[in-house]
């Protein structure tokens, strides 16, 4: 699990340090303070560090300055400290160019003994504990580079793989609605995507594609999603049904050979709970309410994607208070394996949290600044809760 995170020169986050020790962390602050930039910054840094392909160095920093990010990650063996920064040079015409990456990964066991797992400067990458020093593409992050060169699970590289996989599994979830969506998924398209997914392990953003996959190839996950959304869970849906539909092929496909005139498509139907409007009828995804779609999207992402970190934008949007209370409890149940970091404007959600789980975001001179409640603040907040108030009221009083 990621325990601390810092980032420099990414959008409004010119120098942000974030304590992520709790399994559930709420990012709060006014509109425009930089909450989304912070969530995207975590995703950005993790994506770069774990990328399995060369990255665009111009993409590192949005303000053409030296990009840098650090994080500590704890597991049962000890703690890892990872730092990545860009190597920036100023050219004769005063313009700046990023020439490569500097990376460092250090492991510290519970006894406090440190070992440098990666030391990378430009194209030279050393992996001291594995006894490896290699030249790598200046745009290729070191962890994936060495793992792709020595894929036979070199014992000393397992730790690097562990860190890479945790960072690879960090995902930003804006939970935004697509302007339009495909409701029919051709079986041929599904098979192609599913095979790629099983090799690369990167889930689609399409909630329907993930539900079709779960129903066809991972019934345990499909049942879990159904259970959480169904009568024994949030009581939103009576069932999710994935059906196969034979549809005529497009004309161009028909003319290309002697294949059948029809092709199989998958379609997903949602039947609302008996206590809700529309009970007894089945609906396609886009016919459901915005809030119901968001909950389905959130639960599917949580259960199907199995991320190490979920970065969620305002989970409360369009969702009834009594339901969001249950959703937050649900996220907390799964937070042992998936760290939940979310932005929120909801006082009711704040009231469900512990003071130590709050991170407050401000904009100072155009830059985003983040801070936790100090120990004294936490104690004052607890006193306030014991006597006369709510956490949201206490937080409001700080501003």
């Amino acid at each position: 699990m990621i325990r601390t995170f810092s980032i420099m020169n990414y959008r409004s986050c010119t120098n942000v340090v974030l304590d992520l020790v709790p399994n559930v962390v709420a990012i709060i602050g006014k509109n425009g303070a930089g909450k989304s930039n912070l969530l995207k910054g975590i995703d950005h840094a993790a994506t770069i560090a774990s990328s399995q392909n060369p990255i665009d160095l111009n993409w590192l920093s949005s303000n053409n300055d030296t990009f840098s990010s650090s994080m500590t990650i704890a597991d049962s063996d000890g703690e890892y400290s990872y730092t990545i920064s860009s190597i920036l040079v100023t050219l004769s015409d005063s313009s700046k160019e990023t020439l490569g990456l500097h990376e460092r990964l250090v492991f510290k066991d519970h006894a406090g003994t440190e070992a440098i797992l990666i030391h990378r400067q430009g194209e030279l990458a050393e992996f001291p504990t594995a006894g490896i020093a290699i030249g790598i593409n200046h745009r290729m992050p070191a962890m994936s580079a060495v793992l792709s060169m020595f894929p036979n699970k070199h014992e000393q590289l397992l730790k690097i793989r562990r860190v890479r996989d945790i960072l690879l599994s960090v995902q930003y979830y804006p939970l935004e609605e697509p302007a339009s969506g495909t409701l029919m998924i051709p079986a041929s398209y599904f098979e192609q995507w599913a095979n790629e997914y099983e090799i690369e392990g990167n889930p689609s953003k399409s909630v329907l594609l993930r539900l079709v996959y779960a129903s066809q190839r991972s019934p345990g996950i499909f049942d879990e999603i159904n259970s959480l959304l169904g009568d024994n869970g949030l009581d939103l849906l009576k069932s999710i049904d994935v059906v196969k539909v034979e549809l005529p092929k497009p004309r161009q496909s028909q003319a290309s050979g002697g294949s059948p005139d029809t092709e199989t498509n998958y379609s997903v139907f949602f039947t609302p709970s008996d206590s809700l409007a529309g009970a007894g009828e089945s609906f396609q995804f886009l016919d459901l309410s915005v809030g119901t779609r968001r909950i389905i999207r959130l639960i599917t992402s949580l259960i199907f994607d199995k991320r190490s970190v979920m970065l969620i934008e305002q989970p409360e949007d369009s969702i009834n208070l009594s339901v969001i209370h249950k959703v937050l409890s649900l996220l907390r149940s799964y937070s042992q394996s998936t760290k939940i970091i979310f932005s929120t404007h909801s006082p009711e959600i704040l009231d469900m949290l512990d003071p130590t789980e709050i991170r407050i975001v401000h904009a100072v001179n155009g830059s985003t600044v983040v801070h936790s409640l100090s120990e004294a603040d936490v104690e004052h907040a607890r006193q306030f809760l014991r006597s006369d108030g709510l956490l949201s009221e206490y937080i409001e009083s700080l501003e």
């Binding site: 049942d223 249950k326 907390r332």
Partner: protein, 294 residues
């Protein structure tokens, strides 16, 4: 109409299911609120009870976890903070789950399995001895990798719908108190004391003082077939009528201590008078004095 006040929303959701099942009346209005903490419950509960009373609610279930604290002290705290200021002492049933309401969930592992078939929760003989039952269940769910994981806000009310009331009553005295109190609120609850006596194995529970006063009119003296019986009103006081011997009054003082008093003789009129006095808000210590005087 019954109102439920609990320290957490999930507790309210769970109690609503349970009270509905116990009262066995689908048409009865059950409303209430789950707060965000026990402090908020104590701070705001009295005002809400008053509001409910103005809206015609006549029964209240108030639930506060014991969380390692003395249950009687919590009953006193609730009484001082909520029922006494709102004048609802005789209308309220104060429930103090030991340690948390999840102890009731833990008491019936089969109900959990019915809700989450992949969750093979082990039987717990004494769930109220488990230090943090909520954490215990959720940890068992995680270590057993159940699908889905147990989440109290979602699953407690679902499990409540399947709980074996008798089984949980046997294992959890705090739950038994809820059952006995709510059963006594059933419109169809038989008034004759002897019938109640037989149903509850020697002890009659009723938080409804007026029902007890009515029942006293029909009271049959304990006899050899029914050697003793007792009336329990609102959990704060208890009057036992023992076979041809004495009446035992067991009361809780404002400070949480209990007072016992025995009378060598009694008349039914004495019991009726005491109940009426208690209903008027007579304190335990005053009643004790009244009893001595009589």
């Amino acid at each position: 109409m019954i109102a439920i006040l609990a320290e957490a929303r999930s507790d309210f959701d769970t109690l609503r299911v349970l009270v509905r099942r116990i009262i066995a009346d689908k048409s009865l209005t059950i409303a209430g609120k789950g707060y965000t903490s026990c402090d908020e419950l104590c701070r705001k509960g009295g005002g809400l009870v008053t509001s409910f009373m103005q809206r015609g609610f006549s029964r209240f279930v108030i639930c506060h976890d014991s969380d390692n604290n003395d249950s009687l002290a919590i009953v006193t705290k609730i009484r001082n903070a909520i029922t006494r200021p709102s004048g609802s002492c005789s209308l309220s049933c104060i429930i103090v789950p030991v340690q948390e309401i999840e102890a009731w969930i833990l008491a019936d592992e089969m109900a959990v399995r019915t809700t989450i078939p992949t969750f093979q929760l082990c039987e717990t003989l004494h769930p109220e001895n488990v230090q943090s039952p909520k954490e215990y269940i959720e940890r068992a769910s995680r270590s057993g990798r159940t699908s889905p994981l147990y989440s109290h806000a979602i699953h407690n009310p679902k499990v409540a719908a399947h709980l074996d009331i008798a089984k949980v009553s046997r294992k959890c005295p705090s739950f038994r108190h809820l059952v006995q109190s709510v059963v006594a609120w059933r419109p169809s609850t038989p008034a004759p004391v002897v019938e109640l006596h037989q149903r509850w194995g020697g002890i009659i529970y009723s938080p409804d003082d007026s029902a007890i006063v009515r029942a006293i009119d029909d009271l049959q003296y304990p006899d050899d077939d029914h050697p003793s019986c007792a009336l329990v009103c609102a959990g704060a006081y208890r009057i036992e009528i023992h076979h041809k011997c004495y009446i035992l009054i067991d009361l809780q003082n404002d400070d949480g201590t209990r007072v016992n008093a025995r009378s060598p003789q009694y008349e039914l009129a004495d019991i009726k008078r005491i109940v009426i006095e208690l209903r008027r808000g007579l304190r335990a210590s005053d009643l004790w004095r009244t009893w001595e005087m009589s």
